[in-house]
Amino acid sequence: MSLREAYTTLFLSILDKDGEIKDTADLKHEGKSVDQETVIGVLKSLESREVIKYETISREQLVLTEEGADIADNGSYEARVFYAVPEGEENGISVADLKSKLGQAAQFGQGRAIKNKWIKKSANGGFTRAVESIVDESQNLLRDIREKGAYHDEKVVKDLKKQKHISASKVTSYRVVKGDKFTTQIVKEETDITEEMLKSGEWKTATFKKYNFNAAGVQPRSGALHPLMKVREEYRQIFLELGFSEMPTAQYVESSFWNFDALFQPQQHPARDAHDTFFLSDPATSDRMPMDYVERVKQVHSVGGYGSIGYGYDWKIAEAEKLVLRTHTTAVSSNMLYKLAKEFQETGEWKPVKWFSIDKVFRNETLDATHLAEFHQIEGVVADRGLTLGDLIGTLHGFFKKLGIQKLRFKPAYNPYTEPSMEIFAWHDGLNKWVEIGNSGMFRPEMLLPMGLPEDVAVIAWGLSTERPTMIKYGYNNIRDLVGHKCRLDMVNRNPIARVDK
């Protein structure tokens, strides 16, 4: 029989006999006081079936400190001194011997023993007994308190507390009476409904253990999608809802030509530095670009054209041929716009487009909490005759509204391939300030016209990273907790569904 079952039997039998348990603190089981923590468990279970009712009794109980317990067990210091002095007036003990026998207790006890007239000083400076026997009241008092947990004289209690022989502690016990459905019969509690119970109909009469709704449920075994990929899907969905078609971005290796030159990014631009861009050793270069177009790009960089004075430098094909890991998905956009221009040249028919892409780009960064060598870039592109800066602003408002961002403003910025260029700022309620969330602009004529696009075609575009908003949304401070092989699988598993507009 378990302890719980034993207690249950005990309580029910007392209640049956007396109708009440005045205080469970008084109950004994197998000679020991019952454990009140087990008691409450049993009472709760009985109460849930209305077998009993109970109320809590709270009170202070006096308990002995370590020193108090020592006195209760081994006697007060003065009594110890008395017993250390040999019997008979002729026999005594020197101070030194007393000390070596009792240690510190000799010091604490000898004064009180003299005051109680139990011992007296002898002629040779030692001690002799003054009485034949003593009663150790201090010991008796502490033994009494230890047994009862209380004492009637407040003053004595106060003194003992001061001496640190006793302290007060809070104890809880219970008064128990019969409940509406009192029975001495102990019922088996079922924890679950089983197939057998359904078959036998036992469920109709069975008693069920109360379910603890505060405990955690059993987690289902499940797979999960990665948080960043979920955010990526959301952005993809938003673009598709807005009528944007996906660009083919499955091409990490790009020539400097498409990544930089076609975008009117001069060859000495810092972004083209080995410090920022991954160049390749194998394959190192490619000369497979459309050469007539390459020639037009060379012209516009070095001597200008299409209304531009150009950058006025010695443009080198060797630089353009260097292969890199693309530093932005705009490399793909430039290639797509070139193809669009070619189609226009061949058919004479202009087709406006809305495009997007979300894919990896690479930067030769030193890795830290906010920088990785690879991240996902989101890009949107719209091309049509006569698009305006107002169209870009309106398109951005439309896009960011889908992300739950209502308030935007724009700051003039510089970018080699867009003019005007605008940094996009969003109002962040939590941070109570404007936060930069992306970049945008209208592609420069020096980029579009060499491709062969009609002169009145304007192309508006914007870009942002996937990682940054995801880190803000889910509160990551270190990018490596989110991306890469070191991120924790249980993080992926527990991460909520991505609702970018919430």
Binding site: E246, Q251, E254, A274, F279, R288, P352, G394
Partner: protein
């Protein structure tokens, strides 16, 4: 984006006749397209760097971020001039080239042919009767530093030397000499050094050591002398001590040597337009004649304005506004561009000052109109054409597969695309047959190749998660990259979309991965067929060394191998420091698109 520190009182409050609070000035900067990064002081800045700050000034300093193409705003002088125009307090100055009085000849700078091989271009100019106070002097030094770090590309393209003209004697000569045969006392030093000694001496210099490589190994170093063979400078490293600028300097000789002439002219123009402010006749510059080896000569600087015409219609239809030509001209004045309207009011004729090298095309004029009008005052519109959105089929299938694999109880992971050569080959018991794209200059040493397999990232993920409870069931559907020299690949390489999954537990769980493959095929509606049948998939035991003998197989679809699976070989696990069995599958999903 370069950051310029300016004394707020001297360069903002006084010229703009207004004491701004930080918030107000931040707003002004935002609309104009620069950025107030911080309002601070010299003392605060030093304290932040953990340097001694006791005797530094508490004067308010604005740290302002400047767009990378606005060299004219790389100093306080330029920023105040631009803001004064923007707030319509004062029109920007007109810069003038003024020849010496009394018909005196121009100072000449002769170029020797040897310079052609190392640093072929030089331009120069003179600022006369200058009065510099400490603030102007500091700003002058600071501007050169900013130019060196930005447009000059750390002195590779252009290097600036400035000299006290009264300590030297023209005509000057720009030469290139073997390092051993030149000797002078460099700036702020006391000992004369030859070229070799000088390189050695500055090797450990915090500021200058990074420029040494530009000429160090050249057989001849560029050098500028005066008529008495006094060394003015050894560009792009250091000036001579003899001609150094002091607070008391009255006449300043400025030379810029370069590998890019266009940029040398821009740099010279920037320095002289900014600091001619302190000449007794403000905004005047005395020219210098540069005489080339072939006898031709050019007079610098060219401070003439360039004319750019922009269609009113082009400007309006690009921004989405409807402004009269006169209004456009007025807005351009705010941006330091003086403009007139053509007779028929269909054009604005903009005179671009020498300070505005950023204006290449009418679109730059259009941008300035938009900035002056205020980006945030433009009425938003939306493009008026309908489109039908189309997904990339491979991405659509990828997302469908990812969901199915996650539903099968696998967790998606996102390791990196770049990895080490060993991770991609040797550690997988794989030989490098030259199929991987290799990086030439990674800052992170472990990034040597673009992965050709998703497996290394998966194994690294398991390694990093080893202390969590098993089993691990992870997957990724992502791109690997192969070199491919076939002519249809312009970039001589191609991405391929792969699917990889790994199961790991106390036992290998080989049949679980086999089961996952069957399930994926079930979801792709591809049937298991006998070997050799092209109408489905089948599995054939293989010799793939990444996997354990007898527990490894290739997956065939339409009679082509599309991937493989197996118990990961214990040798591979050892390399990835994984102490319990793993089974993996990797297949190419592109045949199913």
């Amino acid at each position: 984006m370069p950051t310029v520190n300016v004394d707020a009182e001297r360069y903002v409050f006084k010229p703009l006749k207004k004491t701004f609070d930080a918030k107000e000035f931040e707003e002004l900067c935002f609309e104009f397209g620069i950025e107030l990064e911080e309002a601070t002081s010299e003392r605060e800045m030093a304290a932040k760097e953990g340097e001694k700050a006791d005797d530094l000034s508490d004067k308010l300093v604005y740290k302002i971020d400047i767009p990378a193409n606005r060299y004219d705003m790389l100093c306080g002088e330029g920023i105040s001039r631009a803001l004064k125009a923007y707030l319509q307090i004062e029109k920007p100055p007109v810069y003038k080239v003024v020849h010496p009085v009394n018909g005196k000849a121009l100072e000449k700078l002769y170029v020797k042919p040897e310079t052609g091989a190392i640093r072929p271009h030089v331009v120069a100019a003179i600022l006369r009767d200058v009065t510099l106070d400490q603030g102007a002097y500091d700003s002058f030094i600071e501007l050169q530093d900013k130019l060196h770090n930005n447009i000059c590309r750390k002195r590779t393209l252009v290097a600036i030397g400035t000299h006290d003209l009264d300590t030297i004697q023209g005509p000057f000569s720009y030469e290139a000499l073997p390092p051993k045969s030149l000797k002078f006392i460099p700036l702020n030093q006391s000992k004369a050094m030859d070229g070799e000694e000088l390189m050695k001496f500055y090797e450990t210099d915090r500021k200058l050591s990074k420029f040494l490589h530009i000429i160090r190994d050249a057989p001849r170093y560029p050098i500028i002398f005066d008529s008495k063979r006094t060394v003015l400078s050894l560009p792009p490293i250091i000036n001579g001590d003899h001609s150094k600028i002091k607070l008391s300097t009255k006449n300043i000789f400025i030379e810029c040597t370069a590998t890019d002439l266009t940029k040398a002219k821009i740099v010279l123009n920037t320095v002289v337009t900014m600091f001619s402010q302190y000449c007794s006749k403000p905004f005047t510059v005395e020219p210098v004649e540069v005489v080339h080896a072939d006898g031709t000569s050019v007079v610098y600087p060219d401070l003439s304005s360039r004319t750019v015409e922009a269609d009113v219609n082009y400007i309006n239809r690009s921004i989405g506004v409807n402004l009269e030509a006169d209004k456009i001209a007025e807005l351009l004045e705010k941006m330091s561009l003086s403009a007139q309207t053509s007779e028929d009011h269909k054009k604005v004729i903009v005179s671009v000052p020498p300070t505005r090298s950023d204006i290449l095309h009418a679109c730059d004029v259009m941008e300035d109109v938009a900035v002056a009008y205020g980006f945030n005052n433009i009425v938003e519109t939306t493009p008026k054409f309908g489109t039908v959105a189309v997904q990339q089929p491979v991405n659509k299938l990828t997302d469908q597969l990812r969901r199915e694999i996650a539903l099968a109880g696998y967790t998606e992971v996102l390791p990196f695309t770049l990895c080490s050569h060993d991770e991609n080959f040797a550690w997988l018991n794989k030989e490098d047959k030259g199929e991987a794209v290799k990086l030439s200059n990674p800052k992170t040493v472990e990034y040597e190749v673009v992965r050709t397999s998703l497996l290394p990232g998966m194994l690294k993920t398991i390694n990093a998660n080893q202390h969590y409870p098993r089993p691990f069931k992870i997957f990724e559907v992502s791109d690997v990259v192969f070199k491919d020299d076939r002519s249809e690949y312009e970039r001589r390489s191609r991405n391929q979309r792969n699917l990889c999954a790994v199961y790991s537990n106390n036992a290998s769980g080989f049949e679980n991965i086999h089961g996952l493959l069957d399930r994926i095929m079930m979801k792709l509606d591809v049937k298991l067929v006998p070997h050799g049948d092209a109408n489905g998939y089948y599995i054939k035991e293989s010799e793939n060394a990444t996997f354990f003998p007898g527990r490894r197989a290739d997956v065939y679809y339409q009679n082509e191998v599309i991937g493989s699976f197996g118990i990961v070989h214990p040798n591979v696990l050892e390399k990835y420091e994984i102490s319990f069995p793993c089974t993996a599958i990797e297949i190419n999903v592109e045949p199913f698109v």
